[in-house]
């Protein structure tokens, strides 16, 4: 079961999200995260879906997505080098000597503190999937109150001079 990040360009019409989500639930595919926002072109939306599956399941997911009439393009980022980022807010317990410890962790991971109170801090973190997982695992010892994550967005890397 390999993790895959799919980029899906769709016509921005009512119901298009439901068509994509319904495909995954109806066929027993798994959505780990799903991110939707307007694409560059008017009337087009860009979805980034992370999913798990072996190559046969992934092939079906790609084909089935493509079969949806309002889906314009489907790309699997496993096919080549890509950049991938996700943003996350983590609200942690922050009292006494822990505050300094939290700030040092924030520094190391190049995160930002975006909200602070007498007892809590909210941290904004950006990174790929494994970086955010690493931050979360370190934050556990402070006591995590709440987490909000955007799900991944991804983009194909530009071709290097030598490849052109």
């Amino acid at each position: 079961m390999q993790r895959h990040v799919l980029s899906v360009l769709v016509e921005n019409e009512p119901g298009v999200l439901s068509r994509v989500a319904g495909l995954f639930s109806g066929r027993g595919f798994n959505i780990h995260s799903l991110n939707v926002a307007p694409a560059l072109e008017d009337g087009v939306s860009h979805m980034t879906i992370t999913t798990y599956g072996d190559s046969q399941i992934l092939e079906q997911i790609m084909k089935q997505l493509h079969k949806i009439v309002t889906v314009i393009k489907v790309t699997d980022f496993e096919d080549g080098p890509a950049v991938e980022r996700e943003m996350m807010f983590v609200k942690v317990q922050a009292e006494g000597p822990m505050r300094g410890e939290i700030l040092r962790t924030v520094e190391i991971f190049r995160c930002k503190v975006i909200d602070v109170s007498a007892t809590e801090m909210t941290i904004e973190a950006t990174g790929d999937h494994s970086k955010l997982e690493a931050i979360l695992s370190l934050m556990h010892r402070f006591g995590i109150k709440e987490v909000a994550r955007t799900g991944s967005v991804a983009m194909r890397r530009s071709k290097k001079q030598s490849e052109m």
Binding site: G22, G26, Q60, K63, Q64, H66, K67, V69, V71, I72
Partner: protein, 564 residues
């Protein structure tokens, strides 16, 4: 000149070549019905239940190859179409289903007879639309018909709010239709066709497996030419019946759960399976790991999702079945014209012929009761294959598939993928509307006929001479068969203890009723009934506990058939 939404709708239907609508009026579409009498070119068939309307449109589409159209109201009218839509979706039948909807300002307010039919039918339509703006109406209808009939065909639903039907605008018919996100592949990749031909040239025991895609692509002739030129035996799925003549010496018969011994054994021994327009349904493959164990597989299908969904494939060919079959034959003729295919395949053909000879489809003639298989054989004898048969679902369907020798495409209309009881009788209405002069016969069970028996009123109102042959065993026969074989004779809720008098019922509706109870009556009474110019129910009392054989138990391999 401005036109109302209702006028634009009906005008658009005519431009799409529609001449029959199957429907049922109601509050949300009353504006369309108000306009309808001013368009005499559009014949409307008033059904008695919306499910009947969709099945009738489906039967029309399967028989004629054109898009079937139905028109129903919002709410319950729309939800009643769902089974029919799913039936068409599973068998890739082109339909446009027009549903009324509450006015746009009421959508989402739980208005009277409001239901989110676009949401409900999203997973069982090829695509669906809600038209919120009258200026999009003509374009949307153009796209709906384009989607329904192109690529892998399927049902498309268009939801029409009442205020959009009442509004007015200039009617502009879009001559061209194209959708950037929808481009079905018709022309198969030449390389893949070459590889397919190469596989054929290397194979010792090749065979064809034809599915509904051959019929949908009008590829029967191409299939026959390929098979006969290269001397390839042909098996077919339920949906592929008629694509290849059952009477041809190369025909192996139907494959799968109730397939012939020869077809299933061939699948088991072939070294090259060329599957055309079939999707390896579990009823076809049996146990997947034991399916075609020694075969390389060429899979031709217009829908890429069908390929490698259930079965690993050596040569995938995405494209129109007819074009692919023609392409492969052209390559074989051009590159291997000097090969003596008959000689090369002689040994394989002898093996196959042996299976056919040793284990033909058969049934026991013991006892005195009428055998249901004999009824179907007698139907073939009387019609000589020159008829359109529709079936219900269950034993009646399997016996029709086995014992009626279908020789032409579009002469068997049956719900394959979804297995919808109640399909056959309304589908016959559509077939008869498409071909008023053809003999149209439904083979029904006493159980499934009762699921849409109300359509007899439609048949009488339209004066359609449809004949319904009821294989009446007083059981839900196929479930009873499973209970007998796999559930220790526990006939739980399959005995239809109360049953209408089908003869009197037919007469009450204004049709004819016949009852056949003895073997002696079968041929003469069936002959008389079929010759009648009126619609008729023919209640044939058959052996109550007859089973369909061969049978591959669910989950077993194809060569683990129970034979009679």
């Amino acid at each position: 000149m401005e036109r109302t939404g209702a006028q634009i709708l009906l005008e658009s239907l005519k431009r799409e070549g529609v001449n029959v609508l199957f429907g049922y009026p109601g509050g949300a579409i009353i504006d369309i019905y108000d306009e309808l009498p001013r368009h005499p070119e559009l014949k409307h068939v008033l059904v008695r239940h919306e499910q009947g309307a969709v099945h009738a449109a489906d039967g029309y589409a399967r028989a004629s190859g054109k898009v079937g159209v139905c028109l129903v109201t919002s709410g319950p009218g729309a939800t009643n179409t769902v089974t029919g839509i799913a039936t068409a979706y599973c068998d890739s039948i082109p339909l446009v289903v027009l549903t009324g909807q509450v006015p746009t300002n009421l959508i989402g307010n739980d208005a009277f007879q409001e239901v989110d039919i676009v949401g409900i039918t999203r997973p069982c339509t090829k695509h669906n639309f809600l038209v919120k703006d009258i200026t999009r109406l003509a374009q949307t209808l153009r796209e709906a018909f384009f989607l329904a009939r192109s690529g892998r065909p399927g049902p498309v639903l268009v939801d029409l709010p009442k205020d959009v039907m009442q509004a007015s605008t200039e009617f502009v018919w879009p001559e061209d239709v194209s959708m950037r996100s929808y481009n079905p592949t018709y022309k198969p990749n030449l390389n893949q066709l070459r590889r397919s031909a190469e596989e054929i040239s290397k194979a010792k025991r090749p065979m064809l497996l034809a599915g509904g895609g051959v019929i949908l692509s009008n590829g029967s002739q191409a299939l026959r030419e390929l098979a006969q030129t290269l001397h390839l035996p042909v098996a077919y799925t339920l949906m592929g019946l008629g694509a290849f003549p059952a009477t041809d010496p190369l025909s192996l018969g139907m494959v799968g759960m109730h397939g012939t011994y020869a077809a299933n054994m061939s699948i088991n021994h072939t070294d090259l399976l060329i599957c055309v327009g079939a999707r390896f349904d579990d009823r076809v493959t049996g146990k997947l790991t034991a399916f075609a164990p020694s075969a390389r597989i060429v899979h031709i299908d217009i829908d890429p999702t069908s390929i490698r969904k259930n079965v690993e494939v050596d040569v995938p060919v995405v494209g129109d079945c007819r074009l692919a079959l023609e392409g492969i034959l052209d390559i074989c003729k051009a590159k291997m014209g000097d090969r003596d295919w008959l000689e090369e395949h002689a040994e394989w053909l002898r093996t196959v012929a042996g299976w056919k000879k040793d284990h033909p489809l058969c049934y026991s003639n013991e006892g005195t009761a009428i055998k249901p298989q004999k009824v179907v054989e007698t139907l073939f004898e009387l019609t000589k294959g020159d008829a359109i048969l529709t079936t219900e679902v269950g034993q009646n369907q399997m016996w029709t598939a086995q014992f009626y020798n279908f020789t032409e495409p579009r002469t068997l209309l049956t719900s394959g993928g979804l297995g919808t009881m109640g399909y056959g009788f309304p589908a016959a209405i559509g077939a008869q509307m498409a071909f008023p002069d053809k003999k149209v016969i439904t083979v029904a069970g006493d159980g499934s006929l009762q699921m849409n028996i109300q359509e007899l009123a439609t048949v009488v109102q339209q004066r359609l001479p449809i004949k319904v042959v009821i294989l009446n065993n007083g059981y839900l026969g196929m479930v009873r068969q499973w209970q007998e074989l796999f559930f220790n004779h526990n006939y739980s809720s399959t005995n239809m203890e109360a049953q209408p008098d089908f003869v009197k019922l037919a007469e009450a509706y204004g049709a004819e009723g016949y009852r056949i109870t003895t073997r002696e009556e079968l041929l003469p009474m069936l002959k008389t009934a079929l010759a009648s110019p009126n619609p008729a129910f023919i209640d044939v009392r058959v052996e109550r506990e007859e089973n369909v054989y061969p049978m591959v138990p669910a989950g077993a391999a194809l060569d683990e058939m129970l034979l009679i």
